[in-house]
């Protein structure tokens, strides 16, 4: 079964063409251009290079967050637009689940960290075991302040392997907090890749065996919603007094 995956949730545009879980062609761009400028030409070139036609596709997988809000929407709009015309099922996966594949088979717990701005990370925790065909999720995705995340990890006994676009930048901070319990993979292994999304999409597709409605997964509310809720709480609080 031939499928395409799209990941635009970080500053990397990552695309893969894959068949039954095996990557056939992969696109990776980490340049100063925007996803909007990069993604369709890249897709076009990959199809040509792999000598695939659109009509051979049977599934489209897309990374639906967490990550850059705009990036999430570009990826989903692109995947949906293709799926709508080609009449194909969609599979939506999480960026952090995909990144767990960057630490395939390792003994350490895998902690993907994505830059969430405002001194926060989108993070989760996974573990590969000898018999597992995919990483078990030990902590579901959340947005945590960097200090809080490191505090939580300090409590654990396991060694931790960090992946994701925030890993390289935070290497010193992580090592200061966790010492030799931390392993920080270099960018070339730990940035989002089409290959990782291709594995996770294949896993999920086999698990649910059908297409699904894909919506963005932001984790966070927008700032306007947060502020409005704050104001509402304050207003209601005043009324109670």
């Amino acid at each position: 079964m031939k499928y395409l995956t799209i990941d635009t949730t970080t500053k990397v545009s990552a695309i893969a063409l894959a068949e039954d879980g095996k990557v056939v062609a992969e696109g990776f761009l980490h340049t100063s251009k925007t996803h909007s400028e990069r993604i369709m030409p890249m897709l076009d070139q990959l199809f040509a290079a792999a000598a695939w036609t659109l009509s051979e596709l049977e599934l489209i997988g897309v990374v639906r967050g967490p990550g850059s809000f705009t990036g999430i929407r570009i990826g989903i709009a692109t995947a949906q637009g293709l799926a709508q015309v080609l009449n194909l099922p969609l599979t939506g996966i999480l960026s952090l689940d995909a990144l767990a594949w960057a630490g395939w088979g390792r003994n350490e717990d895998i902690v993907p960290i994505l830059d969430a701005r405002k001194n926060e990370w989108y993070t989760a925790r996974y573990r590969w075991t000898a018999e597992s065909t995919f990483a078990e999720c030990l902590m579901t995705p959340q947005a945590l302040s960097i200090s809080e995340c490191l505090e939580q990890l300090k409590e654990l006994e396991q060694r931790i392997c960090f992946v994701g676009d925030a890993a390289g930048k935070a290497k010193q901070e992580i090592e200061a907090a966790l010492g030799d319990r931390a392993i920080v993979l270099p960018d070339y292994l730990s940035l989002p890749r089409g290959a990782y999304a291709a594995q996770e999409v294949w896993r999920r597709w086999q698990e649910i065996g059908a297409g699904e409605k894909v919506e963005p997964y932001y984790i966070r509310f927008s700032e306007a919603e947060v502020n409005w809720a704050k104001k509402e709480r304050a207003r209601k609080g005043e009324n109670h007094e």
Binding site: T34, R73, A77, G81, L82, Q84, V85, S222
Partner: protein, 344 residues
């Protein structure tokens, strides 16, 4: 070749530049087969204006069903389309990107041209949806929340910008005054409604006409005059009559727009004025222009209210003429939030 039917040109238009997700199917430039608008006004109302991040989130959820519904109502499939036209600017960048990304993917997958449409051009082309007999040259007065332009069209795609606002757009000034008066969002329609019970002579607000002969606009001084009046009344512990303020301000804005439009008609000798943009739905503006232009033997054309606010039909209409001209956007097409109208 036998004398088969002439080929139909079917354009899907997609608009997501601000707070409406809209799609329309237009055949041969005039036959509107479907027109779906999913408005977010209710979502943004509690924030007192459009919140860009929330607008983008809403577009992301609505674009697929809106496009699906527009195709279903038009009873066409992607294979029947000649091209897909999409707004790529101006507007909110996050919102534009949802439409641009979706349209690109659809056009690519369908193997048809992608047409990148300037939203402002779209507003003007809304006039062609209902009027097939428009003859160039045409003068357009574009009045919206973000723009106030006077443009002369020599032909499709050939136009010259004669004047534009140097500060606030007319719609923006109306919005800000509406907010100051506590009338809520969207401001234009609220001002119009409130003004009905007011006296437009009650307050004498300035009409900024700029240098003699200039076709540019300036609304920020007029807006400040209202805010100052409110402030000084507040200092004195008085309250002003809100309907009177709304009516007087609306009259001042309309007076300036009409004056400049008449001046442009006089300078160019053009005999048809197209009204476009959200503020084109303002009744006082339409009625005043109707009256003034009739006296000068100039034809006034404006879109039905549904085509004045942001909509996919106007994007499809502009797309139709771009398609005829052989335009096609590259797959690298990006959103351009600050896109303007440049003479061409």
């Amino acid at each position: 070749m036998t004398g088969s039917q002439e080929k139909q040109i079917t354009i899907l238009g997609i608009e997501t530049s601000c707070d409406e997700t809209s799609a329309a199917v237009l055949v041969n430039g005039v036959n509107l087969r479907s027109h779906i608008i999913s408005s977010q006004i209710m979502t943004h109302q509690k924030y007192g204006g459009v919140v860009p991040e929330i607008a983008s989130r809403e577009h992301s959820l609505h674009i697929r069903p809106v496009v699906e519904q527009s195709l279903a109502e038009a009873n066409v499939g992607f294979k029947d389309l000649s091209a897909i036209a999409v707004t790529y600017g101006p507007g909110l960048v996050g919102s534009l990107l949802v439409g641009v990304s979706g349209a690109k993917a659809m056009a690519y997958a369908a193997g048809i041209p992608l047409l990148g449409i300037n939203h402002l051009e779209g507003h003007i082309y809304a006039n062609f949806l209902e009027h097939q007999d428009l003859e160039f040259p045409l003068l357009a007065l574009l009045v919206s929340g973000g723009h106030t332009h006077l443009i002369v069209f020599k032909d499709h795609g050939r136009y010259e910008v004669l004047g534009y606002t140097r500060d606030d757009a007319a719609g923006e000034a109306l919005d800000k005054v509406a907010r100051a008066l506590g009338l809520g969002y969207p401001g234009g329609p609220q001002i119009q409604k409130t003004a009905q019970e007011g006296n437009e002579q009650a307050f004498k607000f300035p009409r900024a006409m700029l240098e003699p002969g200039s076709l540019d606009f300036s609304f920020s001084g007029m807006k400040s005059a209202v805010l100052n009046a409110l402030n000084s009344a507040h200092m004195r512990g008085e309250t002003l009559n809100v309907p009177d303020l709304a009516a007087s301000f609306q009259q001042a804005v309309v007076d300036v727009l009409v004056h400049k439009a008449l001046l442009a008609l006089q300078q160019t000798g053009v005999k048809t004025l197209l009204l476009a943009g959200g503020v084109a739905a303002n009744r006082l503006l339409r009625e005043t222009l109707e009256y003034e232009l009739a006296r000068q033997n100039v034809r006034l054309v404006y879109p039905s209210p549904v085509f004045c606010t942001d909509n996919g039909a106007m994007i499809a209409a502009a797309g139709y003429y771009h398609f005829l001209a052989g335009d096609a956007a590259p797959w690298t097409l990006n959103a351009v939030p600050g896109l303007n109208l440049k003479s061409q």
